[in-house]
Every structure is written in structure tokens, then in C-alpha cells.
Amino acid sequence: MVIIPATTGQMGVLPGHVPTIAELKPGVLSVHEGNETKKYFLSSGFAFIHANSVADIIVVEAVQVDHIDPSLVQKGLAEFTQKLSSATTDLEKAEAQIGVDVHSALNSALTG
């Protein structure tokens, strides 16, 4: 089973899932194989679940959760929260918003 971070929420995928196209948000992908669970942090991308029980997940950057540095995450989160409040243009706001989104996702990946 895999659990993928769709924009609509966490989505568990088992063999025989309905064919789906899901847009992914920054979050954790967990792959359960028997009793083993592997966790990866995905930046963003797409997942296609095909009718023949094959799921394709395409992402720009996927890293193992234990490669993430918690102190850098905290620093980034604080930095972008501050930037969001001081942003003036739409573009700046959007960039800061992405920053906050990604870092909170990273944060919850580490704590959760």
C-alpha cells in the first residue's frame, strides 16, 4: 500500500483502486511493504493510478525523511512566515505562501 499526499488530503492506494489522476502537494509518501514502511518527502508532482493496479508517481524532488535537517526547517518556516506578513505584491505573497506551505509540510513530516 502507498499513502500519497494529494492536494485534497492523504490518499491510501491499494491494488484495484479506481483509476485516478491526483495532483500532489508537498508532503510525505509512505510505501508499506509487508511490515516495512519507507517514507519519502515529495516536493510536488502528480500521481496516476491506472486501472491495472499500477500507480505512477512523478515528482520533482523526493528525499528520505531522515535526510531533512530539522533546524533548517524551523529557520525556513520562521523566515517565510515573516515574509508573508511583509509581502506587498501578489507574486511576493505567493512565493512566501509556497515557502510557508512547504516548510510546514516538512515540519509535520518530521514531527508526525
Binding site: E23, D56, V60
Partner: protein, 323 residues
């Protein structure tokens, strides 16, 4: 080019030397020992020796270039093969739809910046031109987006009115996804299209490359085709998660698809480039080797001929004294 010129010159030098009557044999025997016969002989062998030296140097260069290409190929081949995993899911989902008929076509021709790599650049240009002919027609618009100096140099001759964007200096650093996606983004922002047709050389093995076309449709065309049950009718079977509307997802999907397909195409082409360069340099080294063999033969023959002549002179001189 340089090789061909040298080879022609090589023959020009070699022919008189290979003629049945060697120059040394017809030299006037009246000359004194210092400036006559020996000087003459030395000059003729000197020319061949110089030629041999330069051929040897060229062979060294082509051998080195072959080695460089081989090591670059090894590095890039793994990445090209891995990157195939990026477009395969898209093809599984949307299918490969080269025959969808649309108004605005954009042909993305991928070539290399540097030469000496066989025919891969002319292949992709030829394929692009054939495609251009195929998809253009009344009230249709077809434009070129060119990657690499070499395709630009060829297409500028007869299709420069149709060139929309040209991109070069892509391979200064090792290719990476970020770079290609920024480039893809730039193409998307600057051209209007219904279908993007990417032409590149797909790497099969070191000696075989397939000119390949990958098609990326605009979200509108994807929606139209899937609704009318056209060539991508299967898409309706999929549920769409996330996003407010189907159009939005398709827009994101099309953009992401383009950058992924471009990434693979650029890598495949770079891989083919190195492979082609490797085999081109291999045959150059072999040619240089053959030429060197011929020159060595000439050199030895000339040398032997002059020695024989000298011996004959000495012997006949001695026998004249005896008699």
C-alpha cells in the same frame, strides 16, 4: 573535413614517391657527396617523416576525443535511461498522439552545440523539415523552436521566417531537471501552441539512434479529444483528485508533461551525441592508422631504394677499380 583535406594532400605527396622509378634512382650521379645525392634523399624522406608525424598527432587527438566522449557517454547514459521513467507514465495516461490534427504546431528541434558527431544533427533537422511539410497547410501555423547551434545553422538557410526561439549553451553544466524545466517554462510562455512536437535522437546503442517525435498537446486539445472520444478517450475513465476543475488539472499536467518530456529528450539527444562522436572519432583514428601504415611503407621503400642505389654505386666503383 580536416581529415579529408589531409588525406588528399597525403596522396599528392605519396604518389611520386610510390612511382616505379624512385626519384633517388634518377638523380644525376655527377653531384658531389655533400650537397647532391644525400641531400636529395634526406629531403624526400623528410617530407614523408613530417607527414607521418602530423598524422600521428591527429590520431592522438581523435583518440583522446573518443576517450572523452566515451566517459561522458557513460555518465549520461545512466541518466538518460533513468529519465525514461519520467515520460512513460504520461504516455500510459495520455497515450502517444502524433497524428492529432491541430492548427498551431510548434516543432521543437533538439540538436547539439558542437560538431564532429556524425549525422545526428542533420537527422533531427531532416525529420523536423519533413514534419513541417506534413503539418502545415492553409490556415495553419507551424513554428520552430531550436535547441543547439547546429540545427540553427542549418534551419537558418531556408526556414528562418518560421523560427520562433533558439536556445544554445545548454550543456555548459551537466544537464539537470531544473535547467530543462526553466527552459521548458520559457518556451511555454513565449509561444502559442495547440501541439508541441519535440524532435530528438533517441539513444538505442552506441551505434544506433532513432529520430523520435514526442507530442505534447495543449490542455484545450486534450480536453476536446477526450470528450469527443477521440484519440485519448481513455482519459475519461480516470477520476480527478485535487484542483477545482478538470481544466486546471489538465493545465498543470500539460505543463509538467512538457518539462518531463523535454528533460528526457534533451538527455537522450546528448547521449546520442556522445555516442555518435565516439564512433566518428573511432573511425577517424582508424583512418589515421591506415594512412600511417601507408606512409610508413612509402618511407621505408624510399629509404631502402636510396641505400640500394648507394650500394650499387660502391660495388660498381670497386669492380671498376679491380677490372
Amino acid at each position: 573535413m580536416a581529415m579529408a583535406a589531409l588525406r588528399r594532400e597525403g596522396r599528392r605527396f605519396a604518389n611520386p614517391l610510390l612511382s616505379p622509378r624512385p626519384i633517388t634512382a634518377v638523380r644525376p650521379s655527377l653531384f658531389s657527396e655533400e650537397d647532391g645525392p644525400t641531400g636529395f634523399r634526406n629531403i624526400s624522406t623528410q617530407v614523408v617523416r613530417n607527414r607521418m608525424k602530423s598524422v600521428k598527432n591527429i590520431q592522438k587527438i581523435t583518440k583522446a576525443m573518443k576517450m572523452v566522449a566515451a566517459s561522458k557517454l557513460r555518465a549520461i547514459q545512466v541518466r538518460a535511461e533513468n529519465s525514461r521513467g519520467l515520460w512513460q507514465p504520461f504516455t500510459a495516461l495520455l497515450g502517444d498522439t502524433p497524428s492529432v490534427d491541430v492548427k498551431k504546431n510548434v516543432i521543437v528541434t533538439i540538436s547539439s552545440d558542437k560538431g564532429l558527431c556524425g549525422g545526428i544533427n542533420s537527422t533531427s533537422v531532416k525529420t523536423s523539415k519533413a514534419l513541417h511539410k506534413l503539418v502545415s497547410g492553409p490556415d495553419k501555423e507551424t513554428k520552430y523552436v531550436i535547441l543547439g547551434e547546429k540545427a540553427k545553422a542549418i534551419l537558418i538557410r531556408d526556414s528562418k521566417q518560421d523560427i520562433e526561439i533558439s536556445i544554445t549553451e545548454l550543456q555548459k553544466n551537466p544537464l539537470n531537471y531544473t535547467q530543462v524545466s526553466v527552459l521548458a517554462d520559457d518556451i511555454l510562455k513565449n509561444v502559442e501552441f495547440d501541439a508541441l512536437r519535440i524532435i530528438f535522437n533517441k539513444f538505442q546503442s552506441v551505434v544506433s539512434f532513432l529520430p523520435t517525435m514526442a507530442t505534447v498537446l495543449s490542455p484545450e486539445v486534450v480536453e476536446r479529444e477526450s470528450e469527443s472520444g477521440g484519440q485519448i478517450g481513455d482519459l475519461d475513465a480516470y477520476e480527478i483528485e485535487g484542483g477545482e476543475t478538470k481544466g486546471e488539472i489538465l493545465q498543470n499536467l500539460a505543463e509538467f508533461q512538457f518539462s518531463c518530456v523535454m528533460f528526457n529528450a534533451v538527455l537522450e539527444n546528448a547521449c546520442s551525441e556522445q555516442g555518435a562522436r565516439m564512433s566518428a572519432m573511432d573511425s577517424s583514428s582508424r583512418n589515421a592508422g591506415e594512412m600511417l601504415d601507408r606512409l610508413t611503407l612509402t618511407y621505408n621503400r624510399t629509404r631502402q631504394a636510396s641505400i640500394t642505389t648507394e650500394l650499387i654505386e660502391i660495388i660498381s666503383g670497386a669492380s671498376a677499380l679491380e677490372g
